[in-house]
Symmetry: C2
Subunit: 567 residues, 2 copies
């Protein structure tokens, strides 16, 4: 019987589910594991500068490729990644965190090893990870290892959550049957219960047929759980107007004539708010109704006629269909609508959807948030991956119009500052693996940049070419808007951003830009060479410290109320 | 009745136990708390660039000042700090991690807030922290809050472990009686049980009197739990030779005539090993017998006559005196020895202790590890704080002779690469708070530097002046020695280190140096101006990629055996 090492088994399984890059940092308990990356054709080691960046990059990678993997070392390495893993859990991002662990015998003998708490307890870190993963396992028997690994990958992949796998260092070279690899991991969702599904689908189809003033509201999980195509088909069949939430942005094509704007509760543009809230039927798809995604919980529908589609249940008004997954259900609904005659007569979409076009008339003046985000609509093109940091960028970018085929990455729910740069680098790895020259465009503030800046080094190391737009506005503007406008604690050390690419880059081409005016921004966007991602670029955007997107200022006021207990 | 805010209460309590600097990163759930730092005279906000660096800096600060505090925000902030907190737990470092949390009512209503996992569970992060702290509490009642806070500070301070305190954001401004502050927190250790203590002390005194070939072995907890003065008195009374472990280095004055070298089991110098292992009595004080601290568990005494002194128990041969704390017990032993006549006749110390002196004859040639660490003995002076990163630096620095009054910081047990730079910055904050112009001298490799590089920005922000010696040897040399000598995964992106201070520093003076030869090193150390910590300095040490301290090469071989399960 032909055998392979367990490490080769794991890497091959990852390659089979579309993982071409392994993120992580070496450490003495994972070195023997990493030896086998090269055994699998087309797999590469990212070699991040630190573990938190590995986790964030894996998250960004997974949002483009559907799954990701990172590898850290026991204790010190894995704990540095927890914030990123928890974020992937909160935001439904599938990935596997592989931890190189001490040998089974070291654990049995309670050796006082480095990277432990010196208390003989070897399961502490796994137990910590249990809270923030769908499943967490430490291998302890080579015979059962392949089955456990397959189950973990399947779980993470189909439910879009992180999973945790600790591999004792002496298991990397242990042998398992090569033939196990011939049968691929089953990545199909378990089937819905037929009767419940039929009941749900019939109910929804009937409501769709009868609705007079309906709409579709698309949220984050529409992208994460891959129902974008079903939504497009549903809109084609019904002509219902489509709104997106902040986290749902880019889950629906904004060039579609039925695209009706971004709904953020009370923070929405007035016409968007009125038209959505006056609907008599709301099909809410992939909803994640967190404070920053809902204008601080200010959804005020005039109808209770809401149908919710989720990855693990569906709901018609108050009735919950537990276990009914939206992916299959949406397909059945589309079938049910095939011969149906709908009551709905399409109405015009909100006028504010086209507001961004006014920016084309602005030709001079200092660079402002208002100009920046609207103008971005004209730089973007199909295939672009746009990454916006939590804060000024994630609020501001809601103003931009995304052409068809743009993918947005933002961490609105978990909201960890520092996420966006390594996530953009992870997305750049994914684009590079896909090899279709997608551009990766990052917007991040100078405060957030400081948390994870060494991710730029990871991009340089692998010759990736993201656009790094850095908003230079002297600190944590979002925090200033929430509380402490002039407080010392919301300021940061001023960095000379022009030194960043010089520091991290030792060989290839790179370029620095500084933009302070509308004229400079327009000129840069008009430059043909600038539009081609042929080198890594840092574009410093000089903005006033207290200039912030309008919706951020309003959200900040609501957040301050919630945080002070006055809500 | 006069009242103050709970935030003012907490900050005053911290100031009372010697904390002058609060580390951390602002986040919307802790902003209202941070508002009150300025209410307490002499307290300052460090404002770190990220949370892991906050935790490491707090750890470094506590090793100098006895206690430290960091403040992060719920979920995203606190999880980024976990690796640093776990390290403090493993290495007996007292600190408090204060987390700004959502309001009590948000938790009761299970609001789907940002910085949560969107599952309505608000206690997940506290539960994760429970594994790596001595105590973890979320305040939920303002009436009991002051008592809980006092207990947490006391626990962290006297037992030298991290504690965790989550403060709901609406509690920061809640009022508590000001008079509570008049009674200081009791920082005395609970008294030892008198009978057990007497039994233990009598036993030890008798053994000390009868020993013919005894020794004292000083380890990490001697420093952490403040028994350095007792050890000095014990040596004065007995003339016993004193050995230190790697983690015990600087816990005993190396200028003392009874200092006998560094004991690392099989990795010790031969004469050190032979003389210690032939002892008929070993007084082991503050032992933390981890692999890297013991030459991979290669202690081979020829005696079972070992007395262990710990912070929570003591031990004579196999007999454990549970709850007997070494601090008081050592005092009693000193009293018991006052009139005693000892059998011991002092013998010469191992000759290898003076080996470092040979370096003075080396006047030319390329810079080598061998030269570097011995020569350091002549740069150091009383008052210096020397911080060595895990890896080449922590192994190499064992060769250096520390003059009296040098304090060493290294994280040999937890061994998280990236620790040393922010820990050095934390120590520089402590030195600055003490205001006695102590020099802080960091040694770190180019690989480790990359994990936490933004800590340099924190030092620049506060005009601190550490010496940053960076070993440029192209990657993770310690990992290469353990496994994968030429593996791609042990390489790093090459940085232009001369750009670092230019990037982070916008105003004050700074200076870059590059040292490639013995001549350059000697010249630099001889430069009077260089010896004064008047600016922040980066000294790049150009070393061969595969040049490593001898003891590291040997330790690496032993580690490789343990990791592959061949031990």
């Amino acid at each position: 019987m032909s055998t392979i090492t367990l490490a080769t088994y794991i890497f091959t399984r990852l390659k089979q589910v579309g993982v071409d890059t392994i993120f992580g940092v070496p450490g003495d308990f994972n070195l023997s594991f990493l030896d086998y990356i090269d055994e699998v054709d087309g797999l590469r080691w990212a070699g991040n500068a630190n573990e938190l960046n590995s986790a964030y990059s894996a998250d960004g990678y997974s949002r483009i490729k559907g799954f990701a993997a990172l590898c850290t070392t026991f204790g010190v390495g894995e704990l540095s990644a927890t914030n990123g893993i928890a974020g992937a859990y909160a935001e439904h991002v599938g990935l596997i965190h592989i931890v190189g662990a001490p040998t089974v015998s070291a654990e049995e003998n309670k050796l006082l090893l480095h990277h432990t708490l010196a208390n003989g307890k070897f399961d502490i870190f796994k137990n910590m990870s249990k809270h923030i993963t769908a499943k967490a396992v430490t291998l302890d028997d080579i015979a059962t290892a392949p089955g456990i690994i397959d189950d973990l990958i399947r779980t993470g992949y189909i439910y879009k959550r992180p999973v945790y796998l600790a591999v004792p260092s002496n298991f990397s070279e242990a042998q398992v049957p090569a033939s196990l690899l011939n049968k691929r991991i089953d990545l199909a969702l378990p089937a819905n219960d037929k009767e419940s599904e039929k009941e749900f689908v019939d109910e929804v189809v009937e409501k769709i047929i009868n609705a007079k003033n309906p709409c579709i509201l698309v949220d984050a999980c529409a992208s994460r759980h891959n129902v974008k195509a079903s939504i497009e088909a549903l809109v084609k069949a019904t002509k219902f107007p489509v709104y997106v939430t902040p986290m749902g942005k880019s889950s629906f094509n904004e060039d579609n004539e039925r695209f009706s704007g971004v709904y953020v509760g009370a923070l929405s543009k007035l016409d968007v708010r009125e038209s959505l809230e006056n609907s008599d039927l709301i099909l809410s798809i992939g909803g994640l109704l967190s404070d920053y995604n809902t204008g601080a919980f200010t959804y005020h529908y005039h109808t209770t006629n809401v149908i919710e589609f989720h990855s693990d249940f569906c709901k018609v008004k108050a009735a919950v269909y537990q276990g009914i997954q939206m992916q299959a259900a949406l397909g059945k609904i589309l079938q049910g609508l095939k011969q149906a005659h709908l009551n709905y007569v399409p109405t015009p979409i909100p006028a504010s959807v086209k507001e961004y076009k006014a920016v084309q008339k602005v030709t001079s003046g200092p660079l402002t948030q208002q100009f920046l985000w609207s103008k971005l609509s004209y730089f973007l093109r199909s295939g672009d991956i746009v990454v916006a940091e939590t804060g000024t960028s994630s609020f501001g970018i809601l103003q931009a119009h995304y052409p068809e085929g743009v993918t947005a990455i933002s961490q609105v729910l978990w909201g960890s500052i520092g996420y966006a740069l390594p996530a953009a680098v992870g997305a750049a790895f994914a684009a590079d693996d896909i090899r279709d020259e997608q551009r990766v465009i990052l917007f991040i503030g100078d405060g957030s940049l400081q948390l994870t800046v060494q991710a730029i080094s990871d991009a340089c190391r692998q010759h990736l070419h993201p656009y790094l737009f850095v908003l230079n506005n002297n600190g944590y503007t979002i925090e200033k808007m929430i509380h402490g406008l002039h407080a010392e604690y919301n300021n940061i050390q001023t960095w000379d951003h022009t030194k960043l690419l010089e520091l991290f880059h030792d060989k290839e081409k790179f370029q620095n830009y500084r933009v302070s005016t509308v004229e400079e921004m327009n000129k840069l966007y008009a430059d043909k060479e600038f539009n081609v991602p042929s080198k890594i670029r840092m574009i410093e955007l000089m903005l006033d410290e207290f200039d912030a997107p309008k919706n951020l200022i309003e959200q900040a006021k609501l957040s301050e109320r919630i945080n002070s207990g006055k809500n």
